[in-house]
């Protein structure tokens, strides 16, 4: 079976000017990320700020070309694809953004917003056909057709997120990249939107690349989980395996730091601050904050290797 998405050693480096006298620095937003998503499954990518998860989202949705590595979607190498192939791939991958107040064009009616992907990719469709498709998409996300002629500012955050999801569905994609889709929403609306995403997965077989920092959400919706730190994947496993037996110290730190209602546990805060992107530490990026660090960690970057059912990048695992 061809995997829907296959990324090998994706890297994205930015050069940052640091003033007239200093040489430019390099920010390694993505530093060798490999992952695979099978059709109909949900891969959750967990990370904090600076982990590279947003850069990963931009690479997978083909907005930014990676500086190194290969990305295959539906078996097609994105870096080598020609214009027509890229256009076709665009219909396979769509995105839902974090901020529902910024992801809808304030100047367009909902009907125009939803119709835009069709107008671009399926130019032969008539305006009426586009409107019908928009109405159907709205119904799928639980909104009535009265919304079609309104504008985004007339809707609440949760409703806007539904519209954003409807837009992502217009081209019937195989993969939806969801970048923190519920982080900006209230708890009860979060639950509604997460349910919607799960229902859509069941009814249409959509795969998700679900980016979040909230491990509790991950526990609910993911099939597989990848934990990112400083541009790399440090652990990757099936959901159950990750929560029951996390192998990487950073994963353990994340789990320990997440507050839960029950059992009521006082989260243990980790030590230290994340390193600055312009001054990456030698060796393992986590060694400065790791309770288990040894000398080897300070010099050698651990490779992602398989230990049991988990892929983990730590010298001390397994």
């Amino acid at each position: 079976m061809t995997l829907l998405v296959e990324a090998q050693d994706l890297a994205r480096h930015y050069t940052v000017r640091r003033g007239l006298w200093r040489s430019p620095g390099t920010v390694r937003a993505l530093d060798g990320v490999s992952l695979a998503i099978a059709g109909g499954t949900t891969l959750a990518v967990v990370g904090e700020s600076g982990s590279g998860k947003s850069t990963l989202a931009r690479a997978v949705t083909m907005i930014e070309a990676p500086t190194a590595g290969t990305l295959r979607i539906d078996g097609v190498d994105v870096g080598q694809a020609d214009r027509a192939a890229l256009a076709r791939l665009r219909t396979r991958v769509q995105m839902v953004f974090q901020n529902p107040y910024a992801s809808l064009n304030p100047r367009k009616s909902i009907a125009a917003l939803l119709g835009e992907p069709l107008a671009i990719q399926r130019a032969t469709l008539s305006a009426r056909a586009r409107r019908t498709a928009a109405r159907e998409a709205l119904a799928r996300v639980g909104l009535g057709s009265a919304a079609l002629d309104r504008y985004p500012h007339m809707f609440s955050g949760g409703q806007r997120q539904r519209i954003a999801i409807a837009r992502a569905l217009m081209l019937a994609p195989a993969l939806v990249v969801a970048d923190e889709p519920v982080a900006a929403l209230d708890v009860s609306i979060q639950a509604q939107v997460l349910n919607l995403l799960m229902d859509l997965k069941d009814s249409s077989g959509i795969a998700y690349l679900f980016i979040t920092h909230n491990l509790e959400v991950v526990r609910h919706i993911a099939d597989e989980v990848a934990v990112m730190y400083f541009g790399r994947i440090v652990e990757r496993a099936a959901k159950r395996t990750l929560f029951e037996a996390p192998r990487h110290p950073y994963t353990q730190v994340l789990l320990a730091a997440t507050p839960t209602l029950a059992p009521r546990r006082t989260p243990t805060p980790p030590r230290g601050e994340p390193p600055s992107p312009l001054a990456p530490p030698a060796g393992c990026a986590f060694h400065g904050r790791c309770p288990l660090a040894v000398d080897r960690c300070r010099v050698e970057v651990p490779a992602l290797r398989q230990v049991g059912e988990t892929w983990v990048a730590c010298h001390l695992a397994g």
Partner: protein, 334 residues
């Protein structure tokens, strides 16, 4: 005597003939050294309550209260100057987005110094060197690494977690008796959040400071405070001690909030979500505000507004509350 005593607080916006009630008859009391949480979703009025206490609600907002007393003195009755002498010194506040709350044009040392210049000891108000030394002390107290170098840093050079620590340093500079924290960790990563919450817990313990923690995150509130009030659409629905209120909530809304959490739905395909949305300002139901969405709603709920009923260390605004296992069902027909 309660340190902060709020009785019948209401804040309305919009035109007087069609007011938008952000806060609607809220009562809250905080004892010295106590940690209290204010939980609610957007539109619940939790932030506006704090702003009303601080006197930060600008016209056209209208604040009406039977009493907003701090250490026995009614804040609303004071002159603006007298109020400013208390607010900022004895009551301090930190906000959600630390990078937006710090002035980008001034260094960390200057901004801490500003608080000291206004409310510090006479010595601090006079001597710049004394202020700088105190600023260094405060940065060390909030566990900022490499504090001496950070003194002269600009806000844009700080990460979110560090900026929040600086905000906390400014807030505790004058040893306040009450610290109001409005969503202090919402904009922070989870590891940084854990660090900041631990810092707040330590500071409140060491300084005997009372804490009013406002958040939409139940788990954050659950681990940080000893008592919590749950707000919905500007009204207090339930108030109780932690962890009892979360272990056995009596109000259907509290129950629904807990049930919607992913951690409470492990193994289930769908999260138990409360249908509908918070009532808009123009469409407030005549009876209980939750009635349109409540799974336990009955006729009475739709026509009559439940009054808050005071129990032992708890408050409940519901005619048909959930019954904790083993207790006798009491009809709260007040």
């Amino acid at each position: 005597m309660a340190l902060l005593d709020i009785e019948g607080l209401s804040v309305a916006f919009g035109r007087p003939d069609s007011p938008i009630r952000a806060v609607d008859g809220v009562d809250l009391a905080i004892e010295p050294g106590e940690t209290v949480g204010l939980v609610g979703e957007s539109g619940s009025g939790k932030s506006v309550t704090a702003l009303a206490v601080m006197g930060l609600v600008d016209p056209p907002g209208r604040v009406v209260a039977r009493r907003i007393a701090f250490a026995g003195r009614d804040l609303a009755a004071l002159t603006p100057a007298a109020r400013r002498a208390i607010v900022g010194k004895d009551i301090a506040m930190i906000f959600q987005d630390p990078l937006a709350a710090l002035d980008p044009c001034y260094t960390v040392a200057f901004q801490i110094g500003e608080a000291l210049r206004r409310h510090g000891t006479p010595d601090e108000r006079r001597s710049a060197r004394r202020r700088r030394a105190r600023a260094l002390e405060l940065l060390a107290q909030v566990e900022i690494p490499d504090a001496r170098a950070r003194l002269d840093a600009w806000p844009h050079q700080l990460s979110g977690g560090m900026a929040q620590r600086v905000m906390i340093a400014i807030a505790i500079a004058c040893k306040p008796r009450l610290l109001i924290a409005d969503e202090p960790t919402t904009a922070l990563d989870v590891t940084v959040q854990a660090q900041v919450l631990e810092l707040l817990a330590r500071l409140t313990r060491e300084h005997g400071m009372a804490l009013l923690l406002i958040s939409h995150d139940l788990a954050v509130v659950a681990q940080s405070v000893s008592r919590v009030a749950v707000l919905y659409a500007g009204q207090v629905m339930e108030e109780g001690r932690v962890p009892a209120i979360f272990a056995s909530p009596r109000h259907p809304y509290t129950r629904a909030l807990i049930d919607a959490l992913p951690e409470h739905n492990v193994g289930r395909a769908r999260l138990a979500a409360l249908p509908g949305v918070v009532p808009s300002a123009s469409a407030r139901p005549p009876g209980c505000l939750l009635a349109p969405r409540c799974p336990r709603v009955r006729e009475r709920c739709r026509i009559e507004l439940p009054r808050p009923a005071h129990g032992e260390g708890s408050v409940l605004r519901c005619f048909y509350p959930l019954v904790p296992r083993g207790a006798v069902a009491a009809d709260m027909g007040t």
